[in-house]
Structures are given as structure tokens and as C-alpha cells.
């Protein structure tokens, strides 16, 4: 019976520890400082996106349009600079676009009361389509000389720590402070736990929901900046990839239930670390792509099964519905 006290977060953390220990023991070259930094750097963008998603999921929503916010505004920066505009102006326009995008998402969900899954599915397609049709000349927006200096956000390091990791840490701190130490954070949890109850008690739930999606879009845009700076281009086709599933995976695997009201930044970090460790270890072992997918699937299944054994559904959890 004591086993029951383990939450999914702890189960995933345990799997992470076991995997990490196994790799460290049996895989030469894994447990080095340099490799740890690489591991973190490689999942930093995924982690930042996970934080944006967590913010929304805790408030009982979901943001499928996150990858559009990652691809389009930063892509616009590269395109504008390529066309001869100054870097600060381009960044300002991109942030304004991300802000407007978040407002549209939030308005649709909070005021027009469209379910978040459908609203963000549609707006994501809209933004990606807009980018492809009228903003970008090519799918991959290339770096140009005017971007000089911007690459430090994704390359290079401060005190030996690669900047994407610092970016991830910074967003972690901001989101953690927001969720734990501000009234807004408390409201987000309240809305996620019981939206109707929250409204009855006088919480301004609609503006808070709008704020969640605006923040998610801005964080997504920031992740895009890091990604673009890191690979010296913006492959806007990333919108068509399965990245959004990885983001949801990080959040859910870390133990933030899609039913809302639970979890926090720590869960995202744990989810991100597990994915990062698996990817890094399998790359070192040079496992084939199909083999990697197989192993990834098995570890995820193990996590889900372990969770449903340790935390069987009851009246309360069953009511909260999954997607």
C-alpha cells in the first residue's frame, strides 16, 4: 500500500534515475560534464516549449498552435533582416505578431468559448499558412549578415554553460515565480482545478485565460529565437513535424495531468531530462532511428503503465477526462 504514494512525477523521475545510472555505468563517455551540457543543450528548446505548454495545461487548456508561434515570428525576423530591415525593428514586429497571436487564441478560448484544442488547432494552421503564403519566400529562412550578434542566443556559452541552457533556466525561473509567487499563478491553478468554482469566487478567469495564451505564444516565440540562433536559420517547415507531440509528451510525462490544476515547473524539467537522457544515450550508442523509436515508445508505455498501476483511477480522476 505504501507504493501508492508515488505520483507519476516520481515514477518518471525514478525511470530517469535508473536510465541515467545505467548509461553512466555502462556507456563510456556519457557521464562527462561536456556530455551533460550537450544533453541539456539539445533539449533546451523542447524544455522551453514544455514550460509554455505547462502554463496552459495547468489552466486546463492546451495550445496546439505553439509550434506556429515558434516558427513564424522568429522566421519573420530572419526574413525581414534579409530584406534589409534593422534587427531591433524586426524583433519588435515579431514580438508584436506573437502578442497578437496569443491575444487571438485567448479571446477565442476565453470569450468566444471555443474549446482550446480546436481553437489553437485552427489558429496554428492559420498562422503557419500566413507565414508560408505571404511572409516567407522559402521554407527555410536563411541567416543574413544583418543578424550578426543574434546567434549568441543559441550558440556560444557563458562561463562554460551553453546559452540555450541559460535561456531554458531563465524561462524556468520566470514561469516558476509566476506560478508560485504571484496572484496570477494562484488564479491559474484555481481555474485549472475548477473553472466554474474559480469564476464564482470572483477570479477574473477570462482575462487570466487570455494572459496564459499570450504568455505561451511569447515563450514559444522566444524558443523559436533560440532555435533559429542555434541552427543559423529558421526551418519553418518544423510546423509540419511531430514536435508538438514531443512537447505534450514532456508535459504529461513529467506529471502535469491534462485535466489541469496540478504540476509545475519541476515536472517539465523532469520530463525534459528523461527525453534528453534517452536521446543522448541512444545517439552515443548509435542505435538506428527505428530502434530509437521502439525504445522511446517502450519507455513511455512503461511510465504510463506504472502510473496507472500505482495511481488507479477513482471517482475524482475519472471525472476530469483526458483528451
Amino acid at each position: 500500500m505504501t507504493l501508492k504514494r508515488f505520483s507519476q512525477q516520481e515514477v518518471v523521475f525514478a525511470i530517469f534515475v535508473v536510465l541515467f545510472a545505467a548509461f553512466a555505468l555502462f556507456l563510456p563517455g556519457f557521464a562527462t560534464t561536456q556530455n551533460m551540457l550537450t544533453l541539456l543543450q539539445n533539449v533546451a528548446v523542447l524544455g522551453i516549449l514544455g514550460l509554455a505548454m505547462a502554463l496552459v495545461v495547468i489552466g486546463r487548456g492546451i495550445d496546439i498552435s505553439l509550434i506556429a508561434a515558434l516558427a513564424v515570428p522568429p522566421g519573420l525576423v530572419l526574413q525581414m533582416v534579409q530584406d534589409g530591415y534593422s534587427l531591433p525593428l524586426s524583433i519588435a514586429v515579431a514580438l508584436a505578431l506573437a502578442l497578437a497571436f496569443g491575444l487571438v487564441n485567448g479571446w477565442l478560448i476565453a470569450y468566444a468559448e471555443v474549446p482550446s484544442l480546436f481553437a489553437t488547432l485552427a489558429t496554428g494552421l492559420l498562422l503557419a499558412g500566413l507565414g508560408q503564403a505571404s511572409l516567407f519566400k522559402l521554407d527555410v529562412v536563411q541567416w543574413s549578415d544583418g543578424m550578426k550578434g543574434f546567434e549568441h542566443l543559441g550558440q556560444g556559452s557563458v562561463l562554460g554553460i551553453p546559452t540555450p541552457i541559460i535561456a531554458f533556466a531563465a524561462v524556468c525561473i520566470v514561469v516558476a515565480l509566476l506560478l508560485r509567487n504571484t496572484r496570477i499563478g494562484a488564479y491559474v491553478y484555481a481555474i485549472g482545478d475548477n473553472p466554474y468554482g474559480a469564476r464564482v469566487t470572483g477570479i477574473p478567469s477570462r482575462p487570466i485565460i487570455v494572459l496564459q495564451y499570450v504568455l505561451a505564444a511569447l515563450i514559444g516565440c522566444f524558443a523559436g529565437f533560440v532555435l533559429a540562433a542555434s541552427v543559423n536559420s529558421m526551418p519553418t517547415r518544423i510546423f509540419n513535424s511531430t514536435l508538438i507531440y514531443d512537447v505534450i509528451l514532456v508535459v504529461v510525462l513529467g506529471g502535469i495531468g491534462l485535466s489541469g490544476g496540478r504540476g509545475g515547473v519541476l515536472n517539465v524539467i523532469i520530463g525534459t531530462l528523461l527525453i534528453g537522457t534517452m536521446l543522448n544515450g541512444m545517439t552515443i550508442m548509435d542505435i538506428s532511428y527505428s530502434g530509437q523509436n521502439l525504445i522511446k515508445g517502450m519507455v513511455l508505455l512503461a511510465a504510463v503503465i506504472a502510473d496507472s498501476f500505482l495511481n488507479p483511477r477513482n471517482e475524482e480522476t475519472a471525472q476530469q477526462g483526458d483528451i
Binding site: 563517455g29 550537450t38 539539445n42 522559402l138 521554407d139 527555410v140 543574413s144 551553453p162 541552427v231 545517439t283
Partner: protein, 339 residues
């Protein structure tokens, strides 16, 4: 004797004078070239369908612009159906196009199998099929494109050369596993490495044509093998990430990065100049477009039946290195091609 000679001379002089008089007469009347009218008639008002895997990237935009530039002056309409990376949307687009009965369809296959039956049907109905860069199992009137095996071999040979006297450790960054272009290139690389047992492939992974994934893989590999001497990448659009990882590790110039692509200036020459790539094997897109347009001109004017002709135009590959990256001809600009 004398008499005969002078007669002959007189004849020639007379004939010469007559010819002189006749030439201006010819010039005034002009001479009709007997074949151009039928050529123009064969092309005038025809429609060419174009089904790429997706628009909006250098290769497919370049082909479209190049083919249009060559054929539109003859009154040929080029219509594009963009399936945006969806194979089923592409099959649907092809089916609709066939019912619209264009004179020819340019097909960029997503794989070797999916469109094969459809292309066969189109040729049965009298539509020429030109396949570009990625051939399917069905041989149609023409295939225009790169020889992926050769690309793999060239890249592998360049890496081996760069590795001489070094660690002989190399990495391979493949494209997507489902793409035959990636598998063909890998075959070429394997062909070469099989002859060089001293080469040790420390990593051979698929990065899904994704620059971020390519960077992540390369970073990990470089941390494990800092003495790596070369990397064979499968597409320059993805290997921006590979090169970024090499640069971040401070190994630019020490790790030879070989890749391939369509030779667009920003994606190829600029990156070779900056030192990101040491070799970019280019299947020059404007040449491929011109080859396709040439094929279409020939097929339409020949009146040959679609199923009767089957041939290939493999693109002559160009190595883009530091030596020629500066030249005007090594790369092309999409904006110039669209003018």
C-alpha cells in the same frame, strides 16, 4: 583548246554574275524555315502540370521558375499543384490533373512506389510524364535528376581524402529513413567505405531532414569523438545544423563537412564561403529545369507516343568548394530565376 577554256571561263563568270544578281533577290524574299511553325503549333496553348512534394523550398521553386521561364514564351501554361508534403494530397492532385488532360506532367516523387500506378495511367492516356530528382519504379518518358549514388560516392571520397593521416573516424547524418534519396545516397557512401577498411563510421543516424536534429546528433557525436575527421551529410538544408555543431565545438576546418543540395546561393555558396561546408555537391537546379523544359519541347514537337519513349537525363554534378564558391556560375539565385 584556247577556245574551250575561254568558253568555260565565260560560263563561270556568267554563272557568278547570275548568282550575284540572285542573292539580293533571295534576301528580299526570305527563306522559310520549314520546322519552326509546326514546333510552335505543337507547344502553343498547351498546359504542363507540376506536382512537387511541396513548394516553398529552393529546389521546387527553382524548377518551377526555370520551367516557366523556358516554356511560357511559347504560350505554354505551367500549373502547379502543391501537396505540401502530403503523399495522399499529391496522389489526389495527380489524379485530378490526369482528368484535366495536360500535355505533360512533371512529377517529383515522394518515394519510389506511391505515384507509380498513376503515372502509368497518365501515359496510357497520352500524357507525358517527366520525373524529377526522385525516380519511381515506373519508368516514364523522361527522368531528369541527380544520381544519388554518385552524390554519396563523391561525398564519401572527399571525406576519405580529408581524413588521410588523421583519425579516420567519420560520421554520417542521413535524411529521413522513408526517403529513397536518403537510402540511395547511403548506398553510394557505403560503396566507397567498403573499399576503405581503415575508415571507422562512429555514427550513422537519420536526422529527418531537420537542422535541429542534425545539430543535436552531431554535437553528441563530436563530444564522444573530438578527433572526428569528417562528416557526410545528406542535404545542405539540414546540414546547416551539422555545421553549426562543428562550429560550436570549435572544429571548423578540422572536421570536413561534405553535403549536397540544389546549389542555391544562400543555402550553398554562402555557406561554403563561410567555412560551414567544405564540399557541397550541387545538382544545379536551373540546369535541371532547362533539361526538363528541353525534354518537354522535344516530346511535344516529336509527336511520339508517351509510352514509346523512355530515357533519363542524369544531372552533371558540380562540386562547390572554397575554390569556386565565389564565382558567378557555381550557384544561382531564386530571385534572379524568377525575373
Amino acid at each position: 583548246m584556247f577556245n574551250t577554256k575561254s568558253r568555260i571561263a565565260a560560263f563561270f563568270v556568267g554563272a557568278g554574275l547570275a548568282a550575284c544578281a540572285a542573292v539580293p533577290a533571295f534576301a528580299q524574299q526570305g527563306l522559310d524555315e520549314p520546322f519552326q511553325a509546326s514546333f510552335k503549333k505543337a507547344l502553343e496553348g498547351k498546359t504542363i502540370g507540376y506536382v512537387p512534394v511541396a513548394m516553398n523550398f529552393d529546389l521546387t521553386e527553382g524548377w518551377f521558375a526555370g520551367v516557366k521561364k523556358e516554356l511560357e514564351p511559347y504560350g505554354v501554361k505551367v500549373v502547379v499543384r502543391d501537396p505540401n508534403w502530403s503523399t495522399s494530397a499529391g496522389a489526389q492532385a495527380l489524379t485530378t490533373l490526369i482528368s484535366e488532360k495536360p500535355a505533360a506532367i512533371i512529377v517529383h516523387n515522394p518515394d519510389v512506389q506511391t505515384y507509380a500506378k498513376l503515372m502509368q495511367r497518365a501515359e496510357k492516356e497520352g500524357i507525358y510524364i517527366i520525373q524529377v530528382n526522385m525516380g519511381s519504379v515506373y519508368r516514364s518518358a523522361a527522368f531528369v535528376g541527380a544520381n544519388w549514388i554518385e552524390i554519396g560516392e563523391r561525398n564519401a571520397n572527399a571525406v576519405i581524402k580529408a581524413c588521410q593521416g588523421k583519425s579516420n573516424k567519420v560520421a554520417i547524418v542521413q535524411g529521413a529513413l522513408s526517403a529513397a534519396t536518403s537510402a540511395y545516397t547511403l548506398k553510394g557512401v557505403e560503396n566507397v567505405f567498403a573499399k576503405h577498411p581503415e575508415i571507422k563510421v562512429v555514427s550513422s543516424q537519420a536526422a529527418d531532414w531537420d537542422a535541429a536534429k542534425a545539430k543535436a546528433i552531431t554535437q553528441t557525436v563530436l563530444k564522444q569523438n573530438p578527433d572526428l575527421c569528417g562528416i557526410v551529410g545528406f542535404w545542405d538544408g539540414m546540414d546547416i545544423g551539422t555545421a553549426a555543431a562543428v562550429k560550436e565545438a570549435g572544429l571548423t576546418g578540422k572536421v570536413f563537412v561534405a553535403t549536397s543540395g540544389g546549389g542555391e546561393r544562400k543555402g550553398a555558396c554562402e555557406l561554403v564561403k563561410s567555412g560551414a561546408f567544405d564540399l557541397d555537391v550541387s545538382y544545379d537546379v536551373p540546369t535541371q529545369a532547362a533539361d526538363m523544359a528541353g525534354m518537354i519541347k522535344w516530346l511535344l514537337s516529336s509527336g511520339i507516343k508517351p509510352s514509346e519513349a523512355k530515357g533519363s537525363i542524369y544531372t552533371t554534378l558540380t562540386d562547390i568548394t572554397k575554390d569556386n564558391a565565389d564565382s558567378q556560375t557555381a550557384c544561382w539565385n531564386l530571385s534572379d530565376l524568377k525575373k
